[in-house]
Symmetry: C2
Subunit: 414 residues, 2 copies
């Protein structure tokens, strides 16, 4: 598999950086610190670009969208640019109504003052407990200190400042050539799912120094999000604050990228690698999870159908518990496929657990149970399904369902 990955990377003309830094792309500085929203751990971060960057963002579809998301949208509508993003963890500023909106606006105003840039160039986002107001005094002091401590060395501080119940920080970086110039794409993220009770939210921030118009960037982000962040599921719950944002400083100095640019495909693949890497790290760090699960569906009639099928299988509680127990239970996979809402002919379906064929022509085939069990003990666990309905395919990521998931989620307040 590792060999395969390297081959893919070569074809994709990008190089994966082993020690990712969100400040690697030209023009970016960050900071992160403890402002007193949480008891002890870092809870505020700042991402800053020397120049107003082309920017894009995608948001949760949850009807209870947190106020900060509205503030980001308003800002991006002005000129599609962003120069700074203020993040806090500990409290989500969700279900906080007009007061919450005012608090988000105040956060932005404070940052604008200290950074001496227009308000519409600043995004704010929060993650943590739902329904409680932000402690605005602490937030304001935090912003002032964040601005003072901005630098190119703050990667780890920033990564930590956005976490809630994540067990680790999550970062990705790649580099590639665009018009012969070196370009970097780097991103950081925090955990998905409604990890802690009201600790919502998947957040991801991606930086690049490529030159690209914000409208093109928005289309790219939407497309890549559909293939990556929207293909992960921890517990099926989509939170009030989910967001992915991108800033492109343009300091690489290339001709602005469009789909017609000869290096478009290379950049697309590199950008997708970062998004997919972050998405996988989020899935693997799902609550109580012991293994990453990757379900690939090929032969779908449409991409949408293949995605639906892959997500149904990776999201099935019964498949997730079977994987935890390393039980090669193809019946549950087939059943999830059956209720996914995807149209297919059951008699054509093939299912592989890792490299072990379990179902062919819709029927179980004699399989080596020990080998299948070993495949389920690997990390990641790979499940492959061929629908034989068409040429579309999709991959979804998730994790196993364990005792710890129940423990974490049942005993939060006790």
């Amino acid at each position: 598999m590792e060999q395969l990955r390297i081959a893919v990377r070569e074809e994709n003309r990008y190089e994966v950086i082993q020690n990712p830094q969100i400040t690697s792309p030209r023009g970016f500085q960050v900071s992160g610190l403890h402002a007193g929203i949480k008891r002890k751990r870092k809870d505020m971060g700042l991402l800053f670009c020397q120049v107003p960057a082309s920017a894009a963002a995608v948001y949760t579809t949850n009807r209870f969208q947190a106020p900060p998301l509205q503030v980001i949208k308003e800002g991006l509508e002005v000129e599609g640019r962003m120069q700074a993003m203020v993040v806090n963890s500990g409290k989500a500023n969700a279900c906080t109504g007009l007061q919450g909106l005012e608090d988000a606006r105040t956060m932005r105003q404070e940052a604008a003052g200290y950074l001496a840039i227009p308000e519409h160039l600043i995004g704010v986002i929060s993650t943590g407990v739902i329904g409680e107001r932000l402690p605005m005094d602490r937030v304001k002091k935090g912003i002032s200190r964040l601005v003072d401590s901005l630098g190119t060395e703050g990667h780890e501080d920033f990564c930590q400042s956005i976490l809630t119940t994540d067990t680790c920080t999550k970062a990705e970086e790649v580099r590639l050539k665009v018009e012969g110039r070196e370009v970097r794409v780097a991103g950081v993220a925090k955990g998905s799912g409604m990890i802690h009770p009201n600790m919502a939210t998947m957040l991801a921030f991606i930086n690049t120094d490529v030159a690209i118009e914000s409208t093109v960037l928005q289309t790219l982000l939407r497309k890549v999000t559909d293939e990556t962040f929207n293909m992960i599921t921890v517990d099926g719950d989509c939170s009030t604050n989910d967001m992915v944002s991108v800033m492109a400083s343009g300091l690489a100095g290339n001709t602005p990228l469009t789909e017609d640019h000869p290096d478009w495909k290379a950049f697309y693949q590199a950008f997708k690698h970062v998004a997919q890497g972050l998405a996988q790290k989020i899935a693997r760090d799902g609550e109580g999870a012991t293994r990453l699960v990757e379900v690939t569906v090929t032969g779908g009639e449409t991409t949408e159908e293949a995605r639906k099928a892959a997500k149904a299988v990776v999201g099935s509680n019964l498949v997730k518990t079977a994987i935890y127990g390393a039980d090669p239970n193809w019946g549950r996979i087939v059943c999830a496929l059956g209720y996914s809402g995807v149209l297919f002919h059951p008699e054509t379906v093939e299912v592989y657990i890792g490299s072990v064929c379990a179902v062919q022509g819709g029927h179980p085939v004699p399989m080596d149970e020990t080998a299948a069990r070993q495949e389920l003990e690997k990390d990641p666990v790979r499940i492959w399904i061929h629908l034989h309905q068409g040429a579309s395919e999709a991959t979804a990521w998730g994790c196993d369902l364990t005792y710890d998931y129940v423990r974490i989620n049942a005993s939060y307040r006790t």
Copy 2:
């Protein structure tokens, strides 16, 4: 609450029978026994009516429909009548292809021979492990013995013969007057969800002696199923063999019921009571469950919207684990509502945990945590949500998500 229930029953003009018997409606006999498909427990049952009964059935929407369902459909298409139903547990005869269809047909043929009635009047249904052939020799012998032991005393045997991993038998019965004549409706069911690994399936069988045309009965069953069996969720997985069937012997001798009949509403309510009671018993007996959870959504724009919202909340893993931990976590309820796909204005939402108001106008209100916790320790747990978007409402049932759910589902083969 008990007082309220009695009041409702009086209004509904039916009486709930404390010791339900599937053979109470005129004309029905049953039997159940161990035929050797399972190691020890009863695994075959027979339901028989003295006369060809008006019949109706609804089936799983899973793409992998088990062969027996096709055999039932074919039979009902002939004249909408059924006189016998043969059930086995232990093996689901699903994902068994043409061989499975042949086996289901052979089951029907054998029963037709021993009962001396036409094949199209006989339904067959299986539940248990997916992907394995039925042991036809044992099944055939079983059918012969089932016919020999038919009687009005076999209720408990039949109830037991259809179980897989259910922890208890499930039955309901009501009586009411139609045109002044006593009419009975009685039903039995087995557990929902993909309870054991490949142990699929929710099955329910309802008998009544009312006179009613099969087309009217089919419409009634479809409508009531949408309000009851389709409103329960254990783990969100819809199996390959789910089925509900009804036989109406007509031996009460009333004018055949239609929607215009003066006693239609009374019968509808009585019939719904049986279906709802069985559905609740299935939800409460979900794998590892400790409590029944009832989520009622009022003020929906349409019934469909109210149902979607109620099912999203009752099906949320995070709500289910919070209930197991008796954690009055309104944030998870609101979040599930938010991603349900239902359109509503977050600022109008009210949420009650039992009698404790947790959210009003979309915002948390100060709540008595101890009282809320006590509400979550009750069985059933009741959650009430008002969307304030319209006049439609719906109720969904489920259970909590516990360590035992993970244990049962992760360790089946180990």
